[in-house]
């Protein structure tokens, strides 16, 4: 956990500049700059289709031909590197360049159907725009255009109209160079050249939607967006992605109060220009199955109630419980909402029993987060990953659990970063990062970290090395302590990468027992004073350290707590039965946007806004704030904080209810500069027993509640299979293909077996929450537990 910032390093890395003259104007650019970029710096836009700043040049479309003094033929500006003193003449000052570009534009339109009036891209189409700026007003082409059947599916989500394609190869290069999913290829030749996939291998990349966005024509379209809107009828709002902690900048486009699509937005520090398909396509949930009105339970049944009545009933129930109430905040809250829960718990309810970890968790993890993560400044950024000599992943599968981290690590690995993954097997993601597996039994990561080979310790000792821990460290006893010790020993920076978008923000906002906002230890007098000052209360009125994690859930179940305030929690996300725990309290208030297992049993249900209906902030895994604005300003529902403020009024307390007030109050409190909680290791004995251990995590595309209503996206998810090594299959008498069943205390899962010899022995992997494999519900076990494996599909 050290920050290495050598003075002068920045000066040394300043690039050598060369001077180039474009259309008579001199500009100094770093050596190695492409002519097209140098011209951009002067505001000179050279036409282009195949050029993309994040893809290797290919110089295929020839739209960017320019004249270079002393070079006989026009050259492609997208592939030509500047040299000192180079004289470039673009279409603005050279007839040769202009005529060459016009010629190419005329050619590009030959076989293009010119169906702009019915094309999704019409209105935001580089071909359309550039044809207007550099093309001939009328075509001289009177022959027949070549035609194709259209559209064809390159995946369930991505449709291809081959007639519109200009063969720029952006999509194929993206698939190959960025995503590493080389499933798209150019096929055939000449005018018959077309993008395609192998017959039995659709373009089921987690990143496939980016190809639609970078397609400079309307050749690639989204199955969900196709024919839904014209770009010029859309209203665009910059937003941030709520699906994971990668922190992507997005653009949300809507029309008539309906989101029509989301695009990756340009953020070089975070997602560059990419995002994953979940972030791009999974937004229907916001528009379906919403809770419309407050509800209260009467005679055992929920009925619609007015807001004043519902607030009144909720406040009465919570007040009756007083400090014997507990607060559960899901990991999907914004910073502002999580802060409002943290504040409401301490000020209105007077309890410190609060936890945001709606997933497998541990006390050790809590202590680690309190000691090292909560309220800390950004220590590891995306740029650091790119510069890192080595990165060790601990219980972390970036392609599934933080896809933009995956893309950046893949990019880093191409320029020399060594990626090590401590886990129970290889994966498609790991091979795409040229990664090396360090074998560790699921749950035994701690001992594997302690026994790390000297060669890897050395690699991690190099300046700039990073250790990244995934959310599954909570299921590996001792792993947090071991990773912390390894970081201490090697000097590698330590990063915790939660899966959900709201987790880091909730942690920093104080939605975890023992931690006031900003990572302030609740036992620290100054921390209490600062919080109390911000909240306008007496420090002595703030509760003492409360319960979190399993202890909190147990106290609910045992009846030691009387009420629960539950906000944005999906019961199935817990390894244990949350509904049974909530059954132990008298009164449950659910603040939710969708009907759920919790609203089913709640006494009061208060509907709130989804991300498109409110402003807010997420903290990504780096700790970088990702603020976003309100897409629908006339939304019927408000944010959680506003509902909590209404409740607080029943205590005669005023609480900030708007995002700006909440931000201002958090800002006034500032970061915690006093002593942090020191890491308290938790003695554990991890003895799951002998047999086959279960490795499992949530795949990017699975049965997550925020992916509901997206059949095209769901169809691109990976098949549900069990993976294990051939040796394990043999040892347990399993066939090498066909169905196997995996058994746990609550039942069994029957799936196809895929032999994967990158897996270590005595481990079986299952997707945690995919079609046909809901591990918690179906097996009653979790990551690192022992299961029984049997051949055949019988359950």
């Amino acid at each position: 956990m050290t920050i290495t910032n050598e003075p002068g390093a920045e000066l040394d890395s300043r690039p050598e500049l060369v001077s180039v003259i474009v259309d008579g104007v001199a500009v100094s650019v770093p050596a190695g700059t492409l002519v097209i970029r140098a011209a951009e710096m002067l505001g000179i836009e050279i036409p282009r289709f195949c050029d993309h700043p994040l893809l290797d040049p290919v110089a295929a479309c020839r739209a960017c031909l320019i004249e270079i003094e002393g070079v006989p033929k026009p050259q492609p500006a997208c592939a030509q590197v500047v040299s000192d003193g180079m004289q470039v003449r673009t279409q603005l000052s050279s007839d040769v360049a202009r005529e060459a570009q016009e010629g190419v534009m005329e050619f590009l339109l030959l076989n293009h159907p010119l169906d702009c009036p019915v094309c999704d891209k019409g209105g935001e189409c580089p071909l359309q725009n550039q044809a207007m700026s550099i093309g001939r007003p009328e075509s001289r082409f009177t022959e027949d255009k070549r035609t194709f059947d259209k559209p064809i599916n390159v995946s369930a989500q991505v449709l291809l109209d081959r007639e519109r394609c200009v063969s720029c190869a952006r999509c194929t290069r993206f698939a190959d160079q960025i995503a590493g999913d080389s499933m798209l290829e150019l096929l055939e030749r000449g005018a018959q050249q077309q993008v395609g996939t192998a017959d039995d291998e659709p373009f089921d990349s987690y990143f496939s939607g980016n190809t639609i966005q970078i397609c400079p024509v309307g050749a690639l379209t989204s199955a969900t967006y196709r024919f839904r809107a014209r770009p010029f009828d859309l209203v665009s709002v910059p937003t941030s992605c709520e699906h994971c902690a990668s922190g992507c900048s997005l653009r949300t486009d809507y029309r008539r109060s309906t989101i029509t699509r989301r695009l990756a937005w340009d953020d070089p520090q975070v997602n560059e220009e990419w995002n994953c398909d979940k972030g791009r396509f999974a937004f229907s949930y916001m528009q379906q199955g919403r809770i419309e009105w407050p509800m209260v339970r009467e005679n055992g049944e929920l009925r619609i109630a007015s807001w004043p009545e519902a607030i009144d009933v909720a406040a009465q129930g919570l007040r009756a419980a007083g400090s014997e109430a507990a607060v559960l905040v899901g990991g999907r809250s914004t910073v502002e909402d999580a802060y409002a829960y943290a504040r409401f718990a301490r000020v209105a309810l007077g309890t410190d029993d609060i936890d945001f970890r709606a997933r497998a968790h541990s006390d050790e993890e809590r202590n680690f987060l309190a000691a090292h993560v909560a309220g800390s400044p950004m220590r590891v950024e995306y740029a650091d990953l790119e510069a890192a000599p080595a990165v060790l992943l601990v219980a972390f599968e970036p392609e599934d659990e933080s896809p933009i981290v995956f893309l950046r690590l893949r990019k880093a690995s191409a320029s020399g970063t060594r990626v090590f993954s401590l886990g129970s097997g290889g994966s498609r993601g790991l091979s795409k990062m040229n990664g090396t597996l360090i074998p560790a039994m699921p749950g035994d990561e701690a001992s594997a970290l302690a026994d790390l080979p000297a060669e890897i310790r050395e690699a991690l000792a190099a300046p700039g090395a990073v250790i990244m821990m995934g959310e599954r460290v909570a299921s590996a006893p001792g792993a947090c302590a071991a990773a912390g010790a390894l970081a201490q020993e090697t000097g590698a920076a330590l990063a915790w990468v939660p899966r959900r978008a709201g987790e880091r923000g909730a942690l920093d906002a104080g939605a975890l027992a023992g931690l006031l906002p900003g990572g302030r230890p609740i036992d620290d007098p100054l921390a209490r004073q600062q919080s109390a000052d911000a909240w306008g209360v007496d420090p002595s009125s703030l509760p003492q350290r409360g319960l979190s994690g399993d202890a909190l859930l147990a106290s609910l179940r045992s009846g030691a707590r009387r009420a629960a305030l539950v906000g944005g929690v999906e019961a199935a996300d817990y390894p244990d039965d949350l509904i049974a725990s909530l059954g132990g309290v008298d009164f449950v208030v659910s603040i939710e946007n969708h009907h759920s297992a919790v609203t089913e049993i709640a006494d009061v249900v208060l509907p709130v806004a989804v991300v498109s209906e409110k402003a807010g902030t997420f903290l990504d895994w780096e700790g970088r704030p990702r603020p976003f604005g309100q897409v629908f300003r006339d939304a019927m529902r408000d944010c959680d904080a506003a509902v909590l403020a209404m409740l607080a009024e029943q205590w005669q307390m005023s609480a900030p209810s708007s995002v700006s007030e909440l931000r201002a109050e958090l800002g006034r409190m500032g970061p915690w500069t006093g002593p942090r909680e020191s890491f308290a290791p938790v003695a554990t004995t991890h003895s799951p027993g002998t047999g086959v251990r279960l490795a499992t995590w949530r795949q990017l595309l699975d049965l997550g509640v925020m992916q509901e209503g997206e059949p095209h996206l769901a169809a691109t998810a990976r098949d549900t299979v069990a993976r294990m090594s051939g040796a394990t299959a043999t040892r347990y008498g399993l066939p090498t293909s066909g169905q196997v069943s995996i058994h746990g205390p609550s039942g069994a899962i029957s799936v196809d077996l895929e032999i994967d010899d990158s897996m270590i022995d005595d481990v079986v992997w299952l997707p945690m929450n995919s079609e046909g494999s809901r591990v918690y519900r179906d097996l009653g076990v979790g990551y690192g537990d022992v299961v029984r494996v049997m051949s055949g599909g019988q359950l």
Binding site: A59, R62, V104, F107, F141, G190, A191
Partner: protein, 436 residues
């Protein structure tokens, strides 16, 4: 008769066993190899440089210079790739060389590999000629059995493996970087340059790519010396050339002669035009070079003289057409070829060949428009020099040259089809026999 024929590569083609190791050895084969292995590799490069051998694949780039671009002592593997993907319409000289005298190629491969310090050589042969593939594979096998290929060749410490690779039928794979992609197992499309193959070619390592005839020249240059080689040809085009004459001549075939011989002389060797026929137009080296007419028959066939006449020596495989042939039809056939073979990578070639072919087909059927003659000129101008590789340039070549000399035929094709202007039967070889 001014210029004599000078058979060198073709000297012993009348030996039925020349394709075997014994046959080749019987006429002095593999002596040059001994000489080469005993010398400094750099001296071989210098020899080839001094000889002034120019690439016989069409571009005429100085071979020794190309070899000298390979960085030596760079710690990377070097590769020699022989471009035997002869697919140019009209070109038929590499395949006969491989059929008749494959060991000259193999010996050249070994010497060249030794010179550029390559331990792997690849011979990429056009897939449509399995007979040539089999001949070369047989020759490689014999050479390997004789210890001429393999580890520590003839005790020199030099190791070489030779792989014969068969293409899959794409003209574009004759473009050297597309050939490399194809050889690596990818779809054959030209690569962006730089980096040039001499620096980062096959498997991103320094690579020399030479034509079959170029490499087949090497043993003779090494064996007989620079003076001897420069005794043929001209200052800028030294040496001899395997000319393959085709078309309306009495004896189409291979004629090896010094560079600088005239087409008229070659025509004489080929027995002259068929009876009652005269030269209408001819192309010095494949369909990719601009055509010439009977007024150019006395020009020396050298790189420089052909350039001066507005054409290129190309592959040095003259196609001769007599007065029975419609220029419009010939140009249309060539463009159909380029359209079919355009790889699709770059816009001008992919779309341009598609468009031009469509327009030319209208002219062929007497349905061209006057204005489209200028459009075609424009379109060729929009391809030439703007496409990704030379295939596009080649496709832009036939029409402007045809227009230069035969504009009236295109004008006639705005109302009369090519077949009406020129009875196609008359151009067939069996026309003289009266067969219809």
């Amino acid at each position: 008769m001014g210029t004599p024929l000078t058979p060198v590569i073709t000297e012993h083609w009348d030996r039925p066993d020349l394709y075997t190791l014994d046959g080749y050895r019987a006429v002095g084969g593999y002596q040059a190899l001994d000489k080469a292995l005993a010398s400094d590799p750099d001296d071989i490069i210098t020899t080839v440089k001094d000889a002034g051998l120019r690439g016989r694949g069409g571009a005429g780039f100085p071979t020794g210079l190309k070899w000298s671009f390979v960085p030596q002592g760079d710690g990377k593997p070097h590769y020699l790739v022989v471009n035997a993907d002869e697919s140019e319409p009209g070109a038929c000289k590499d395949i006969p060389i491989m059929m008749a005298n494959p060991h000259a190629l193999i010996e050249g491969v070994i010497i060249t590999s030794f010179a550029i310090r390559a331990n792997h050589a690849f011979i990429y042969i056009r897939g449509e000629v399995p007979n040539a593939v089999r001949k070369v594979e047989f020759a490689v096998k014999q050479a390997r059995q004789a210890g001429l290929i393999g580890k520590n060749i003839k005790g020199s410490g030099f190791d070489l493996d030779v792989v014969v690779h068969s293409g899959a039928g794409a003209y574009i794979c004759g473009e050297e970087t597309a050939l490399l992609d194809s050889l690596e197992g990818y779809r054959g499309q030209p690569r962006l340059k730089p980096p040039f193959p001499a620096v980062a070619g096959l498997y991103a390592s320094p690579t020399v790519i030479n034509n079959v005839e170029t490499i087949a020249n090497i043993p003779y240059i090494v064996d007989r010396g620079v003076e001897w080689f420069r005794g043929f040809g001209t200052e800028k085009s030294p040496g001899f050339k395997v000319f393959a004459v085709s078309g309306h001549v009495k004896r189409p075939g291979i004629y090896e002669a010094p560079l600088g011989i005239t087409m008229r002389e070659l025509l004489d060797y080929a027995g002259g035009m068929r009876d009652g026929s005269s030269v209408k137009f001819w192309l010095p080296g494949g369909s990719s070079v601009p055509l010439l007419t009977d007024e150019h028959l006395d020009l020396p066939l050298t790189y420089e003289a052909m350039a001066e006449a507005g054409t290129m020596l190309g592959t040095g495989t003259p196609m001769v057409f007599d007065q029975t042939v419609s220029v419009v039809k010939a140009v249309t056939r060539w463009l159909e070829f380029y359209k079919h073979e355009s790889c699709g990578k770059c816009t001008p070639c992919r779309e341009g060949t598609y468009w031009i072919t469509g327009v030319l087909e209208k002219f062929e059927h007497g349905q061209g428009q006057q204005a489209e003659m200028e459009t075609l000129t424009d379109l060729c101008g929009q391809i030439a020099g703007r496409s990704f590789c030379a295939l596009g340039d080649a496709a832009a070549t036939p029409y402007p040259a045809a227009m230069k000399y035969f504009r009236e035929e295109f004008e006639a094709s705005t109302h009369t089809s090519a077949d009406e202007q020129f009875d196609p039967i008359a151009s067939y070889i069996f026309a003289a026999a009266g067969v219809r």
